[in-house]
C-alpha cells in the first residue's frame, strides 16, 4: 500500500497521502494562526476533551463527597466542607455545559467534518472560525480564573439575587470572571453558528440539494440557527447580571426595583434552547452512525430532517417549563407545558426512524455503533422521564430533586456518548490512524454500565424527595448515593481506558484507509488524513446513504466505490 504513488492514488482510495493537512506546514504558528477548518477542529477537540476531564474531575469529587450523609446525621464528611462542595457542583455544571457540551460536537467535530461533507475547501469565513476558537480559549481561561478568586458557588444557573448579592464572598468574587467567561464563550458559539449557516447555504456543491445533505448537516444547521438566535439573549442577560452586581443597577433585585423572576425567564430563554444546541448535533451524528454501521439507507430521511427543524423552533417556546414552581403565572405555565409535550413528538419520531433503519441491516458492533446504540437506551430514558417533568402537577413534586438531575444527565450527558462515538468514527479521518477496536468497545461498555449505575438510581432518590445541590442529606439516601458514586468511578475507568486507546492509536495505530467504515458521505472520499485543501476537484454528489455501490477492498483495507475499482488507484 505504501508503495503506491500518492499522487496517482488520488483521493478515492485509502493510501495515506504524504502531504496531508497535518504535515502540510510545521511549527507553532502554522497551528496557532491556521485558517484550516481541520486544524481548528483538532485544536477545539483537544481543548474540549481536556476541559471534559476537568469537569469530570469535579464530578468525581462531588460524588465522593456524597458518599456519607452528614456530620449532623451521624456520618462524617471527610473530604471537604459545604462551601467547597457547592463550588464543585457549580464548576462541574458550568464547565460541562458552557465549555464542553455546547461546543463539543459542532465546534470540534462539526468544524472538521462539515466542509468535507460538502466537498468544500473550508468554511465560509475561516478567519471568523479561528476567532471563534480563540474566544473559546479566552472564555475558558476566564472561567477557570475564578478559582483564583475563591471559585463560584452559585450553581451553573447563576440565579439572582444570590449571584448578584451573596455568592462567593469577596468584593469581586469568582462570579464575575465566570459570568464574563460565559459571555465570551457565547460569542464563540454565535460565530461558529453563523459560519455554519453561511457555509451550508453558500458552499453546497452543485447537485447537493437540501434533501441530499447528510443528516448531520441538518442537525448542525438547526443547531446553528439556535446558536445565532438564542445566544445573544444569554449575553445580554449576563451583562445585566454583571451591571447589577458591580454597579448596583437594579434589574433583578427587588430592593433596587427589579424583578426576581425576570432573570430566570432570560436565562432559560437561552438555556433551554441550549439543550437543543447540545442534542441536535448529537442526533445528526446518530443518523450517520446508525445508518453506516447497519450498512443500510437511513429510514425516513425527510422526517428526521424536519424533526430537527421542528425541535429547533419549538425549543424556543418551552423555557417556562423550568419555572413551574417559580411563581410565574398559571396561564403561562399551562402554555409552556402544552408546547413542551409537542416537542416530545419529533424526538420520538427520530428514535423510531433509527430503529427502523436497523431493521434487516447488517449491524457492525464497532465502537462508534456501540456508543450510538447506548445513546438509544440513554436517550430513551432521558426523553421519557421528560414527560413526567412536563406534567405540571407532577413537576410540583419532582422539580429541583434528583429526578431532574438524573433526567438532564440522561439527555445532556447522554450526548457525550454520541460525542465519543463521533470521535471514534471520524478518528481515522482526523489522524490517519485506526484505533484498537476491542479496547474501544470495552471502554464504551464500561461507560454505559457506569453511566446507568450513576444516574438511574438518582431517579429513585428524586421521587422519594431528595433535593438537588444538597451537601448533607438524610441517611435513608446513603445507599443510593453510594451506588451512584461507584458508578462515577466506573465511568472514570472507562474514560481512562478511552484515553489509552486514543493515545495508543496515535503512537502505533495502523494507517487508516480513506473509507474504513463503508460510509457514503463525502468526507470519506478524500484521503485519511485529508490533504490541506480537502479535494482537488469537487467529488460527485451521490446519495450519502446509498451503500449498494460500496464494497470492501482487501487491498486498501477499506471500502471503495464499486464503479471506481480498477481506476488508477488500483494499479499495481
Amino acid at each position: 500500500m505504501s508503495s503506491l504513488n500518492p499522487a496517482a492514488a488520488g483521493p478515492l482510495v485509502g493510501a495515506p497521502a504524504a502531504d496531508n493537512y497535518l504535515t502540510h506546514s510545521r511549527g507553532f504558528w502554522s497551528w496557532a494562526a491556521t485558517l484550516d477548518h481541520k486544524r481548528i477542529g483538532v485544536m477545539y477537540l483537544a481543548g474540549i476533551f481536556t476541559m471534559f476531564l476537568v469537569g469530570g474531575l469535579f464530578a468525581v469529587l462531588l460524588r465522593s463527597v456524597l458518599l456519607t450523609p452528614d456530620a449532623a446525621a451521624g456520618g462524617v464528611k471527610t473530604i471537604v466542607d459545604a462551601n467547597m462542595y457547592n463550588r464543585f457542583f457549580t464548576l462541574h455544571g458550568a464547565v460541562m455545559v458552557f465549555i464542553v457540551i455546547i461546543p463539543g460536537i459542532p465546534a470540534a467535530l462539526g468544524n472538521f467534518v462539515l466542509p468535507l461533507m460538502l466537498g468544500a475547501k473550508d468554511v465560509a469565513f475561516p478567519r471568523l472560525n479561528l476567532c471563534s476558537f480563540y474566544l473559546w480559549l479566552i472564555g475558558t481561561a476566564m472561567a477557570l480564573a475564578s478559582l483564583y478568586w475563591g471559585g463560584v458557588d452559585t450553581g451553573w444557573t447563576f440565579y439572582t439575587p444570590y449571584s448578584t448579592k451573596v455568592g462567593s464572598s469577596g468584593a469581586f468574587g469568582g462570579v464575575v470572571p465566570v459570568v464574563a467567561g460565559a459571555f465570551v464563550l457565547g460569542f464563540s458559539s454565535i460565530f461558529t453558528g453563523l459560519n455554519f449557516i453561511v457555509t451550508i447555504h453558500k458552499l453546497r456543491p452543485p447537485g447537493m440539494t437540501w434533501f441530499r445533505m447528510p443528516l448531520f448537516l441538518w442537525g448542525t444547521y438547526a443547531t446553528a440557527v439556535i446558536q445565532v438566535l438564542a445566544t445573544p439573549v444569554l449575553g445580554i442577560t449576563l451583562l445585566l447580571l454583571l451591571a447589577e452586581r458591580l454597579l448596583g443597577i437594579g434589574f433583578f433585585d427587588s430592593e433596587l426595583g427589579g424583578d426576581p423572576v425576570l432573570f430566570q425567564h432570560f436565562f432559560w430563554f437561552y438555556s433551554h434552547p441550549a439543550v437543543y444546541i447540545m442534542i441536535l448535533p448529537a442526533m445528526g451524528v446518530m443518523s450517520e452512525l446508525i445508518s453506516v454501521f447497519s450498512h443500510k439507507h437511513i429510514f425516513g430521511y425527510k422526517f428526521i430532517a424536519f424533526s430537527s427543524v421542528a425541535i429547533a423552533i419549538l425549543g424556543f417556546l418551552v423555557w417556562g417549563h423550568h419555572m413551574f414552581t417559580s411563581g410565574q403565572s398559571e396561564l403561562l405555565g399551562v402554555i409552556f407545558s402544552a408546547i413542551t409535550f409537542s416537542i416530545a413528538i419529533p424526538s420520538a419520531v427520530k428514535m423510531f426512524n433509527w430503529l427502523t433503519t436497523l431493521y434487516k441491516g447488517s449491524i457492525d458492533f464497532k465502537a462508534p455503533m456501540c456508543y450510538a446504540l447506548s445513546f438509544m437506551w440513554i436517550f430513551g430514558i432521558g426523553g421519557l422521564t421528560g414527560l413526567f417533568l412536563g406534567m405540571m402537577g407532577l413537576d410540583q413534586h419532582l422539580h429541583d430533586t434528583y429526578f431532574v438531575v438524573a433526567h438532564f444527565h440522561y439527555v445532556m450527558a447522554g450526548t457525550i456518548f454520541v460525542f465519543f462515538g463521533a470521535i471514534h468514527y471520524w478518528w481515522p479521518k482526523m489522524t490517519g490512524r485506526m484505533y484498537d477496536e476491542g479496547a474501544a468497545v470495552l471502554a464504551s461498555l464500561l461507560m454505559f454500565i457506569g453511566f446507568n449505575m450513576t444516574f438511574f438510581i438518582q431517579f429513585l432518590m428524586g421521587t422519594r424527595g431528595m433535593p438537588r445541590r444538597y451537601y448533607a442529606y438524610r441517611p435513608e439516601f446513603q445507599f443510593h448515593h453510594i451506588v451512584s458514586t461507584m458508578g462515577s468511578y466506573v465511568m472514570l475507568a472507562a474514560v481512562l481506558l478511552l484515553i489509552y486507546v486514543l493515545i495508543k492509536s496515535l503512537r502505533s495505530g495502523r494507517p487508516a484507509p480513506a473509507n474504513p467504515w463503508g460510509a457514503g458521505s463525502m468526507e470519506w472520499q478524500c484521503a485519511s488524513p485529508p490533504p490541506h485543501d480537502n479535494f482537488k476537484t469537487p467529488p460527485p454528489v451521490v446519495d450519502a446513504y446509498d451503500y449498494e455501490s460500496l464494497e470492501w477492498d482487501e487491498r486498501v483495507g477499506g471500502y471503495v466505490h464499486r464503479g471506481r475499482r480498477g481506476g488508477p488507484a488500483a494499479t499495481h
Binding site: 444570590y162 421519557l384 449498494e548
Partner: protein, 352 residues
C-alpha cells in the same frame, strides 16, 4: 386514584395530603406508558442487534426507505398519549394552584438558612404544625435570596422570594406519628447551608390537639409582664411554681433553643469553630474590631444591635452583609434569652 406501580415499588414518599393520590396516579400512568415505549424500542433494538448482526458475506437487505403509514402512526399515537398526560398534569396543577377560600392561614418566612412560621395568633415558630383535614394556605416571603418550600409527603413545592408573596395550599390527610414529622425542605439553592435549611411539619390528628400545641408553642409569650419579671428574677422558682406553662425553661436554655431553631446555628457555632459568622464561644466581654465603626465590647446592647441591625457594625474578618436582620421577628424576651445563653458560653467550658 392511586399509583399501583409507584406504591408497590415504594417510589413515592407517604401520601399525606389530598394531592398525593392524584399526583401518584398520573405518575403511574406516565410510568406505564414510558415502560411500554422503552420496552418496545429497546426490545426491538436488541432483537435487531441479534438478528441482523453483521455476518461475513451477508449484505444488508434493501428495504423501503420511507413509509408514510409508519411515520404517521408513530407521530399520531404518541401525540394522543401526550395530550392525555398534559391533561392529567394540568388538572392536578390547577387543583394545587387554586387557593381554597376559608382556609387556615399561616405565614412563612424564609431566610438563609431557616424557616419561620407565623400563626394567626402571632406566634412565630420554626416548625410547621397543622391540623389534619383542614385546608391550609401558606403565604410565603423571603428575606434574602430565592428559596423553595417543599414537603415531599404533600407533593407540594413553591419558590419563595423577596419582593413578592407566593402562595401554596394543602390539606393534610395523614397525621404524623407521635414524635414523628414530615420533612420540610428548601429546594432552591440558597448558599452554604442550603442542605440544612430543613425543618419539621407535624400534622395533628385533631383540631383540638393542634390548638393546644399552638397555645403552648411560645411559653415566653404567654407570660404577663409581672410573671415575666418574676421569671427573670428567679427562673427555677418560677418554673417550679408554674408547672402548667409547658416548655418553659431557664433563660439560658430558652436561648439555646432559639439558637437551635431560629437559624443562628447555621453561621454561629458554640464550640469555637469559625463559620459564616463568629463563634459565640467565649465571645461575651471580648473586644471586637469593625471595618466601619470604632471597636466595642460584646455586651447586651451590642448583641441586641447585631440581631436587629446586623450591618451597623461589620466585624473584621467576616462578610459584612451575610446576616439578615431579625427586627420584628424576634421579641425582647427572646433577645434576653439569647443574651443569657451567650453569657454561659465561656471559653474552656465546652458546651456541645
Amino acid at each position: 386514584m392511586t399509583g399501583i406501580l409507584a406504591d408497590s415499588l415504594g417510589l413515592m414518599p407517604p401520601k399525606a395530603s389530598t394531592f398525593a393520590p392524584a399526583v401518584d396516579f398520573w405518575f403511574d400512568f406516565t410510568l406505564w406508558v414510558s415502560i411500554f415505549f422503552f420496552v418496545l424500542i429497546i426490545g426491538l433494538m436488541m432483537i435487531f442487534m441479534v438478528m441482523y448482526r453483521r455476518r461475513p458475506g451477508v449484505r444488508a437487505i434493501v428495504t423501503p426507505t420511507h413509509s408514510t403509514v409508519l411515520e404517521l402512526s408513530w407521530t399520531i399515537i404518541p401525540t394522543i398519549l401526550v395530550v392525555l398526560m398534559f391533561w392529567g398534569g394540568f388538572k392536578t396543577y390547577m387543583d394545587q394552584r387554586v387557593m381554597p377560600s376559608g382556609a387556615y392561614e399561616i405565614g412563612v418566612n424564609a431566610k438563609q438558612w431557616a424557616w419561620e412560621f407565623t400563626y394567626p395568633n402571632g406566634i412565630r415558630h420554626p416548625e410547621l404544625h397543622v391540623p389534619k383535614d383542614v385546608p391550609v394556605v401558606l403565604t410565603m416571603f423571603s428575606d434574602d435570596v430565592l428559596h423553595s418550600f417543599f414537603i415531599p409527603a404533600f407533593r407540594v413545592k413553591m419558590d419563595v422570594m423577596r419582593g413578592r408573596y407566593t402562595k401554596l395550599w394543602f390539606q393534610a390527610t395523614l397525621a404524623s406519628p407521635p414524635g414523628g414529622y414530615y420533612p420540610v425542605l428548601c429546594t432552591e439553592y440558597c448558599g452554604t447551608s442550603h442542605s440544612t435549611m430543613v425543618t419539621k411539619c407535624v400534622v395533628h390528628e385533631t383540631r383540638a390537639e393542634f390548638d393546644q400545641w399552638l397555645r403552648d408553642a411560645d411559653p415566653l409569650k404567654k407570660l404577663t409582664p409581672e410573671q415575666y419579671d418574676e421569671y427573670v428574677r428567679d427562673p427555677a422558682a418560677f418554673i417550679a411554681a408554674h408547672p402548667d406553662i409547658q416548655g418553659l425553661q431557664s433563660p439560658a436554655d430558652m436561648g439555646r433553643k432559639l439558637w437551635d431553631t431560629k437559624g443562628c446555628k447555621q453561621c454561629h457555632s458554640i464550640d469555637g469553630k469559625v463559620g459564616t459568622g463568629p463563634s459565640w464561644l467565649g465571645i461575651w466581654g471580648a473586644q471586637h474590631e469593625f471595618s466601619n465603626a470604632p471597636p466595642a465590647v460584646v455586651e447586651e446592647n451590642y448583641v441586641r444591635e447585631s440581631i436587629e441591625n446586623p450591618r451597623a457594625k461589620a466585624l473584621k474578618g467576616y462578610a459584612a452583609n451575610a446576616m439578615p436582620t431579625y427586627q420584628g421577628r424576634i421579641t425582647d424576651r427572646e433577645i434576653d434569652s439569647i443574651i443569657a445563653f451567650i453569657k454561659t458560653l465561656k471559653s474552656g467550658s465546652e458546651t456541645k
